[in-house]
Symmetry: C2
Subunit: 233 residues, 2 copies
């Protein structure tokens, strides 16, 4: 404390990404297989170190999103989860990771093309249950990310980030059902969502059709906080 020659320790800062999306109505997270030690061959979150000491942390998150997941970060939802800094979390030394939560829309493309070895969408259920082993403290980070997403569906317009630019109300319902892991009544959901001013706005008279009566299309509205909220059952 009173040591004049003392100077604060410098540490390495990494960024890790919890990228969630919906595939066949199930919640998935993007994982990569580690190509180097430690945890070589084990699944891990995409991420990496800051590029230089002038790079903003969220800019590094955007960059990794592009490099490792081939996703245009400027378009999708990205928010900070927090800092993970247990001294022993990385055997290479003191590394503090700032984790981010990203939500990717369900794109028609088959898989995310990436330069990282073996990047793949994995069902979140397998990760949370512990059936999929993760490197470092990444399972804890995924758990926190999923809980954040679950919580934010209630009070924010986050659900729309899982959808394409335009979407039907039942597509939106599938987001809530997949993330929360519950079944919702389509009729009540329909009105509840419509009853939140500014959450979703009608997109033209356009309609899309698969089977049954075509649904109206909507796009994300101006409101980011939901009044009233869509509450979990």
């Amino acid at each position: 404390m009173s040591d004049e020659s003392w100077s604060p320790p410098a540490v390495l800062v990494a960024v890790d990404l919890v990228i969630l999306t919906l595939r066949s109505s199930k919640l998935h997270v993007l994982l990569v297989e580690r190509g180097i030690e430690p945890y070589r061959g084990i699944q891990a979150l995409p991420g990496g170190f800051l590029n230089n000491d002038q790079e903003d942390i969220i800019a590094a998150a955007h960059r990794e999103l592009d490099e490792e997941a081939n996703l245009d970060g400027s378009k999708l939802h990205l928010e900070q989860l927090g800092a993970y800094g247990q001294p022993d979390r990385d055997p290479r030394g003191r590394i503090i990771s700032v984790a981010y939560l990203a939500i990717a829309p369900h794109l028609p493309e088959p898989v995310a093309g990436t330069d990282a070895a073996g990047a793949a969408w994995r069902p979140v259920a397998g990760v949370l249950s512990g059936r999929v082993k993760l490197a470092f403290d990444h399972r804890k980070i995924v758990t926190d990310g999923v809980e954040r997403a679950r919580s934010k569906l209630e009070h924010s317009a986050l659900a729309a980030a899982f959808c394409a630019e335009t979407f039907t109300i039942s597509e939106l319902q599938q987001v809530y059902e997949a993330v929360w892991g519950v079944r919702l009544d389509p009729r009540n959901f329909y009105r509840k969502v419509q009853g939140v001013p500014g959450f979703i706005v009608p997109a033209d008279v356009t309609r899309r059709t698969t089977k049954g009566r075509p649904a109206r299309l909507f796009r994300s509205g101006p409101q980011t906080v939901l009044h009233p909220p869509i509450v979990r059952p």
Copy 2:
């Protein structure tokens, strides 16, 4: 990326504390006057650098809580707010700050004795409105901390952390009113709080008295998440 000799940049990591408490039924935050440049003489959050490269971040927060605010960290609520890492946030160079939110009970003691120059409880209203100037990005951090507290009052037992070991229901109500900045009906609040199983439990038949009918005393219950929640009006 493909540069073999590249190594990640090391940065300095600091911890900043948003310590909230209630004084005369108003929400206050602990600020210190900076004794050195940059921002000498300006109000700032208590905080400091990691002690060494083995110190856990939350341990550093506990230590600063003790050093700068003379508060026993083991007893009060402490949770991470997030990492603040804009490259230009500190003119001395690249410093990433991990911010924590702490809730201190309203102690009978006059002021928190501290070794930092001019530590004092300041009304949060003055800080949020911009009337009190803060160093670095600390105003943003306080804003985030207060919003976190407001939000967590709804779904968690955080409010009890503002109170002494035992408290009356109307004291608990004052917490909600001060943090949310609203008036609540005492009669409905009384029942609503009692209707959440495990939130508060009766403490003996003991009672305290000032004016009017003495109130029953309660202590914090085992439940940390509130079912049903206490919702903001």
